[in-house]
Symmetry: C2
Subunit: 280 residues, 2 copies
DNA sequence: ATATATATAATGGTTAGACCAAAGGTTAGA
DNA sequence: TCTAACCTTTGGTCTAACCATTATATATAT
């Protein structure tokens, strides 16, 4: 009875238990093609992964409780938990304890993306300069693409973001946030979600290593560029948009280097920082 | 006794057990800063992650067996396993069963990177065109950078790769491999490991969706470009290198589209395909 | 002696059932 | 009506086995 199989639960009188979507459970072999014994947790993970990605389980929906999944898949609860742990790491699930809790479908792919880059940094495989360079390679062309593809209305929204930032001259934190929002939206205008994801991730890491060391003076200087960039976008001057964005980022990069900012090399990757409980 | 603590094992007469590096074990709280109870498996994962990334555990080294880790951390084996599962998903560990087996430190960060992008594709959040576009944005500038930064010797190596490919006119598979190798090395010349990682990942996904549908005619046509690119690199003509690479990739992209190739949208992410065991 | 088969031991993979802890819902009391 | 005590659901953890895989050593046959 080591064979893993799906005991599709009598899909009928579940009247009592669930408010979660009654899920289609089934297992396929997953693992190396080389006749290796497929590991149960890999199969379960694979099965759930498929359901999540093919829309069988919509974003935000809750999976059945671990115990029921274990029953349904015909495996022990631990196998299910290991599968969930892997999926959680992949950014496909988010788990919450307690009564209202459970495993919820999410699409947080930026998380593993960021974790990987963080790991590369922490492991010394890449430098902060590498990150800045990548950002430049992504955002400058993105600005050009935005000038070509961006919808008028969206560009005007972007313009408003910049204008609102003008009024925040005194609030350093808000100004910084507004500038970030600008870059986020600018990249979004390029219309390539993959590009957006990457930029978002890179930006998040860079921002983290800033940690409020960005002074108002620099922020306003940056804002200056943003005005020009918006102008270029509005007039569809792609090459200008590209160049201005590149200058904006290069200037920022130089500031970083002058300030001798080192990356926040906490090997946290996915996990945020310290909780409340002290440990021996 | 719910407190998690490190019972650092008497680091002495382990003469019998280990050929693995005697690891420094210790746990910190990990989790949300908001006084939430830190989950044991997250703490263990965090602790190991730190050791791996800060070099306390070198690449290729083996972790102590799960049972010993559990002892050392003062938790159950299950907690350790869940932690390992997450780290495996992060590309930090690779686990092998059996006698010679164990959990080995690896730095396979391309794996989660690729998994994320695969998930985005499978979930319909991005398209194959988005991928091609990103590749173009990365590789074309990379070629320009290579022309500037690439060491003479490395460029000459690259030239040899192209020349050797000339002799493979008949072997479609080998020719394809040689062309891939060209792009890989080209990007490496740019001297940005992060860029290399990304390109590697994107390329791998694109290649997978090709699956031998690339005919010899197209391969040779591509090879033509490679010759020109190498020429540009040797003479440090950065802009030419950029333009030629862009043309090379755009041509390939158009071919893809004409052939109506759809991405291999198997929600496999990290896990390769079917094993030998049938299920239910 | 060499090669092949077989036992041994180390280690991950899995099971079973129990109990703890968090968090939403319900109900009783003020 | 509001509050506080319970109750239930669900994830988190523990224990103690046993199964499966594989490298290594040992024995056996050639």
């Amino acid at each position: 009875m080591s064979q893993i199989q799906d005991k599709k639960p009598a899909q009928g009188e579940t009247g009592r238990s669930g408010n979660y979507q009654p899920v289609n459970l089934s297992l396929q072999a997953a693992g190396d093609s080389r006749g290796k014994r497929p590991k149960a947790y890999a199969q379960v993970a694979q099965s759930i992964r498929r359901q999540v990605l093919t829309g069988g389980l919509a974003k935000g929906e809750r999976l059945p409780p671990e115990r029921e999944l274990a029953d349904a898949f015909g495996v022990s609860r631990m196998v299910v938990r290991e599968a969930i742990r892997a999926l959680e790491s992949d950014g496909l699930l988010q788990v919450r304890p307690g009564a209202g809790g459970g495993s919820f479908v999410t699409h947080d792919f930026d998380k593993p993306l960021g974790a990987s880059i963080n790991n590369l940094l922490a492991g010394g495989a890449i430098t902060l300069d590498n990150l800045f360079e990548l950002r430049l390679m992504l955002e400058a062309p993105a600005a050009a693409m935005a000038a070509v593809r961006g919808r008028r209305a969206d560009i005007e929204d972007l313009a408003r973001v910049v204008e609102q930032a003008d009024d925040l001259a005194d609030d350093s934190e808000a100004l910084r946030a507004a500038n970030l929002e600008f870059h986020r939206r600018l990249v979004a205008l390029a219309g390539n979600p993959l590009l957006s994801s990457l930029c978002e991730t890179v930006l998040a890491i860079l921002v983290k290593s800033l940690q409020g060391r960005l002074n108002v003076e620099l922020s306003r200087r940056v804002l200056e560029y943003h005005h020009h960039i918006v102008g270029a976008l509005l007039e569809r001057r792609a090459e200008d948009a590209r160049r201005l964005t590149a200058q904006d980022l290069e200037q920022l990069h130089q500031r970083y280097n002058k300030m001798g900012i080192r990356v926040d090399v906490n090997p946290e990757a996915a996990a945020p920082a310290a909780g409340g409980r002290e440990i021996s």
